[in-house]
Amino acid sequence: MTDNSLIIANNISYKINENKLFHNLSFDIKGGRALHIKGKNGSGKSTLLRIILGITDPTKGSINSAASLQICYLGHKNALKNYLTMRDNIHLLQLNNHIKLNKYLDLIGLKKHLDVTVSSLSFGQQKKLALLRVFLNSSNLLILDEPFVGLDDDTHEQLTQFLSNELIEGKGLIFTSHIPCQIKSDLLELNN
């Protein structure tokens, strides 16, 4: 393990029902660097992220992660409780006492909706609430699966800004996105 590598992937392959999704991928993620995973729908981007997270086991190869590794993950699903209010969701995420909570609630403009149930929020507002977990993270590696989906231009810009800042602060970032974005990143293309 090199000094500031957070994760190293060695020759990982993944098959599902004998269909190869990807084959012999190797890469590593260092603090301060971003990796943008691209590929068509169904090419295995989300699967790759789940392998990195350790949820799914690769068919071949291995993932080594730094001892200090702390991951913040946001997938296609928001992991919110639809029937609870925003306030309760924030409580469940244990972010209610976070010092920067107010700052970011203001930023995404959801402060006045604190007592609205999540299911009444608009699609983009729900995504923003889910992103609060990212904005207030205390991890050193961010893994985001299409974080820009459903966001309006302003919020897209804010998120880009935020992520770029996190990179400057030395955190690692792996993300997928079909929507072009301005984050400086290495590219990993998946083709099957």
Binding site: R50, L53, G54, I55, T56, D57, I71, Y73, G75, H76, K77, N78, A79, L80, K81, N82, Y83, L84, D88, H91, L92, Q94
Partner: protein
């Protein structure tokens, strides 16, 4: 301890999850006398069967969504990523459910028993009996629900039934023993013994099942 606190918080916020089964229990116990002619001694005869069935059903309802929701909305992934000891988490979750649902239901069982039989000697042991059996039922149903997680299958129900029935038999026998005052303690011990095994094994098994589901 952190996990315990979060689980409590979650349940406290989702009132329906713990209050619901308690209410259903209560409603069944109310419904029972409505369907019988209102003579005190006839009421008593079916009473304990209805009681055990009501406990069974309310525990079933309590666990029904114990994982599905978290699975569907993606929270389960988050838990697995963050939590170092997923088994312990599951064990604690079941404990919290028991604490918030099993205990009140057991108390209600005692109250309803006393109200119906007007016999304190007979009703008091109902409390520990239902405490233990509700915990056992909870564990069994948790196992079933982990099996049928996102599937539209009845796998869970099919698997759990054969396990739940013996417990009911023991409970029934226990009640007879109690009424005729023979050897009641051994039934409590038998149930306690089963519980102590179940309480350890089921969370471990369930954690593997869930991980397999998420892969």
């Amino acid at each position: 301890m952190e996990i315990l606190k979060i689980e409590f918080l979650k349940l406290r916020k989702k009132t329906r999850i713990w209050l619901g089964p308690i209410l259903v229990f209560w409603l069944i116990m109310i419904a029972y006398p409505l369907t019988v002619e209102l003579l005190q001694d006839r009421l008593q005869i079916g009473f304990f069967s209805v009681l055990w069935i009501a406990i069974l059903i309310s525990m079933m309802l309590a666990t029904e969504d114990i994982f599905t929701e978290d699975y569907n909305d993606g929270s389960l992934e988050q838990t697995i990523i963050q939590e170092s000891s997923f088994q312990v988490g599951i064990g604690l979750k079941v404990f919290v459910y028991w604490f918030l649902i099993g205990i009140p239901v057991s108390l209600l069982s005692f109250i309803f028993s006393f109200g119906t039989t007007q016999n304190f000697e007979l009703s008091l042991p109902i409390f520990p009996l239902s405490l233990i059996s509700s915990y056992i039922f909870l564990n069994i149903f948790v196992l079933g629900n982990s099996l049928s997680l996102n599937k539209g299958s009845v796998l869970g129900a099919l698997v759990t039934m054969p396990i739940a029935l013996p417990v009911l038999i023991v409970l029934g026998k226990g009640m007879t023993a109690l009424q005729f005052d023979i050897n009641f303690e051994s039934f409590i011990l038998l149930l306690l013994g089963s519980l102590s095994i179940i309480i350890v094994l089921i969370p471990i098994v369930v954690s593997y099942i869930i991980k397999a589901h998420l892969e």
